[in-house]
Symmetry: C2
Subunit: 250 residues, 2 copies
């Protein structure tokens, strides 16, 4: 993977249990935070079901559109774990037992005196040529094919694997941000804020309303890859808020 | 919208703040639960940024693929609220102030003695021909164009709007489910479970591993639109688990 000032990425969370609402995804938010710190632009995230064609089509669309694709879910030992085969289909690669993955699994189960069942052997299945992603939590590795990183869905395992993936990834110029709490509603500040955004094109200014049931408030977040541009926009927003404070006090 | 035994749906959460990890999406999980109860199949969910082209392209792809599309986010009064214009672009419709929305907003701000600013008027902007989705929390309505339902991103407002949307939607035959806790790891039960799935084609059996840092356990979930098929599969899984219990006791 070549270095880039701002690598782009997409994430795919795979699992019927997320689409049914039974499981609430935690992996997308975790990856989003880490990628932001690493200067990698997460451009989209998709949650899809345990459907071979949907998985393969989604992987193919996203791996061509972005520098990095991370998937989670569907690499365990049961019949509904079909991600490895779907990734093989996406790349047109045969899928079989990867020798080093098989060795690690066999050794781990032998050491623990647990039977190495046919179901457990499935966790060594990967597309030909895949490289392993270490799993320090529960041994069964994830894998990488080209720019696609295939990780487990259980959050503790996903997070441990992602730490290993991050070591291999190109990092970008991190986006720095400044947040200002604003006690005035969006409808009051919307006009002036639009003018500030126009005159600070190197920044992205977001306005995030909150509503606690009785009162609206707003968090204003300025983001930029350029610290000086960030600071200039932050000062402009702070000055606008001071104006509103002065007006509301008078 | 025509009734269907199992309407299909997709959800789009719009917002840079979710992709940066600053905000954790709660709306997808909420919609997933409600749609499951209503017998509507949520087939995928996407999180995308505040990018007009990305929003329009995503809406166009999903509204053609599924019966129902729900979006959240980007319909407030500030410059980064661009969803209404992006939906207009997706449908090739002009976007302007919707009279009834404008009337509701003007009346609400007049009543509260709050200035009806240019920024606040933006919340009346909708594609021509859109119908309103009531907002009992903070007045500014969402809207519907064809099979696309455009809702607010703030969770309390999203949820209130979604309750109103659900009244208009076709419901399907609800999927019923049964969950069994399994103290045996997936690698032990994987083989027999696969056989049970094969002999119960009217059901979908999911195996969801959990790992608490020291011990693996598994939740087995059987889902079906047919109560008798569900019960038959549940009994087969329960019998398998009883076998494992007997073996582990001996």
């Amino acid at each position: 993977m070549t270095a880039s000032p701002a690598p782009t990425a997409a994430m795919i969370a795979i699992g019927d249990e997320v689409l049914s609402g039974r499981t609430k995804d935690k992996n997308i938010g975790h990856l989003a935070e880490l990628f932001t710190l690493a200067g990698i632009d997460l451009k989209e995230a998709r949650i899809i079901g345990d459907e071979p064609t949907q998985i393969a089509d989604t992987v193919n669309t996203l791996r061509r559109a972005y520098d990095i694709v991370v998937t989670c879910g569907g690499i365990g030992p049961t019949h509904d774990d079909i991600t490895a085969d779907a990734i093989g289909a996406a790349f047109g690669l045969p899928v079989g037992e990867e020798p080093e993955a098989l060795r690690r699994l066999a050794a781990s189960y032998a050491e623990r005196g647990i039977e190495f069942t046919e179901a457990r052997r499935r966790m060594a299945r990967m597309p030909e040529g895949a490289t392993l992603i270490d799993n320090p939590v529960s041994v069964a590795p994830g894998f990488r094919v080209d720019n696609v990183f295939v990780l487990a869905g259980v959050p503790s395992i996903f997070q441990a694997m992602l730490d290993n993936v991050l070591k291999e990834l190109p990092t970008g110029v991190p986006i720095v941000s400044a947040a200002l709490d604003c006690r005035f509603p969006e409808g009051d500040i919307g006009g002036p804020l639009r003018e500030i955004q126009k005159s600070h094109p190197g920044t992205s200014i977001g306005s995030y309303p909150r509503f606690d049931g009785t009162r609206h408030s707003t968090e204003l977040v300025i983001r930029s890859r350029d610290a000086a541009a960030l600071e200039a926009a932050r000062q402009a927003v702070a000055a606008m808020l001071a104006d509103f404070e002065a007006k509301s006090a008078s």
